[in-house]
Point group: C2
Chain length 232, copies 2
């Protein structure tokens, strides 16, 4: 039995998985089952299959509602930025899931515990276990704490275009002028900082800084979006 | 406004979409919106994005529970057999969704209404609209009428291996002998029919016929599975 995990889940997320067997299954790799035969152990893969689909829906539903103007193509790219091995592995680490995985000795030696692909699987199988134990609402509650705040922290910004989002939002009722103006440029040549302001129909909506004009514009657009949402 | 569809949904599936605007959006292609500017029309793509994820979860959840011994790899293949353009297009036709799509004139001429890719999109966008209007339970109710019965009708049999499923089921508590025996072979050379019986530890569990031994064996395994499930 995997112990300590439920306590940590309760402390950090207000979650308690009632079915301990399910939690054990979700954190057990096949290599561990092979080394402990005849104990009726199960490994995580089936639950991971389910957890993967649960995450797809929970993330799709969230971004569909949060970005009511975003076209399908960008929704799909944003979802792909959020639902992938790299980001799931980092969520698993943040939740300390790596500490609780049951691995065979060979896999342990091969440092599988730190491997993104395994951590991603375990994040999905945890989601699957939570879904089976408590239903979709509990998953939404957990993901709202662990995943969605990363959108606001800019974790997916590489894939995420605030300038386009701002344009979609302000132009939904017709054409407007959007203008990015360089306010300032300072610092040594190898560490320049740009400050940019964004004006919509000559009204200042946001400011942003960055080490390139492009970055500063993205930050200004993001700032403008925050201001517009605060006004709603 | 798309009329008639809600009546047909009510008659055939006991479903009524309360939000007519959502239903209109789900059945409207971009080409129609382009031909009718300034009417505030929306096309189906965003709802389809959501419906795709809804279907993935609903199907995953169903096969996860229905086949408790099936390993992840086969679950994934079965889901792919059920959740794809070809099968969704056929479900859309069965539901007469093709009759209700709003298309631009060019697309109509190009016979887009009969195109699998469009029909698949529309099936997904309908699922998305149903989900937004009434939640996941209503989608499950609909899919239980339209999609899941096809599993029993053998629609996904090409991708679905009853012999392996039978083996997994009867061997879950240890090794047993599974034996397929040819009972009969009859008909003209160009239309031979084989009859096969499957025995598990020398007990007759099922019989099947087919135009090849392989097909007859699959049908015998399927028959055995039905018998075993009836006994449960």
């Amino acid at each position: 039995m995997i112990s300590g995990l439920n306590q940590e889940l309760a402390d950090n997320f207000g979650i308690y998985i009632k079915n301990q067997a399910l939690l054990d299954e979700a954190f057990t790799q096949a290599s561990y089952v092979n080394e402990h035969p005849n104990q009726g152990l199960k490994f995580y893969e089936r639950i991971e299959f389910l957890g993967d689909a649960v995450m797809q829906l929970v993330v799709s539903n969230y971004i569909y509602r949060r970005y009511p103007q975003m076209p399908q193509g960008r929704l799909t790219r944003l979802r792909a930025a959020m639902v992938n091995e790299n980001s799931f592995a980092s969520f698993a680490r943040e939740c300390h899931f790596d500490q609780y995985i049951r691995l065979g000795k060979g896999e342990e030696k091969a440092q599988a515990r730190q491997r993104d692909s395994l951590l991603c699987d375990i994040f999905e199988s945890f989601i699957g276990a939570l879904y089976l134990d408590q239903g979709l609402d509990s998953v939404v509650k957990f993901v709202t704490q662990v995943v969605f705040p990363k959108l606001d922290e800019g974790r997916f910004d590489e894939f995420f275009d605030h300038k386009t989002e701002l344009q979609e939002l302000v132009q939904k009722n017709g054409s407007v002028d959007i203008d990015y103006r360089l306010l300032n440029e300072e610092g040594p040549d190898n560490d320049l900082a740009f400050q940019v302001a964004v004006y919509v129909d000559d009204k200042l909506l946001g400011k942003g800084t960055g080490h390139s004009k492009k970055h500063a514009e993205q930050n200004a657009a993001r700032h403008a979006l925050e201001n517009l949402k605060a006004e709603e």
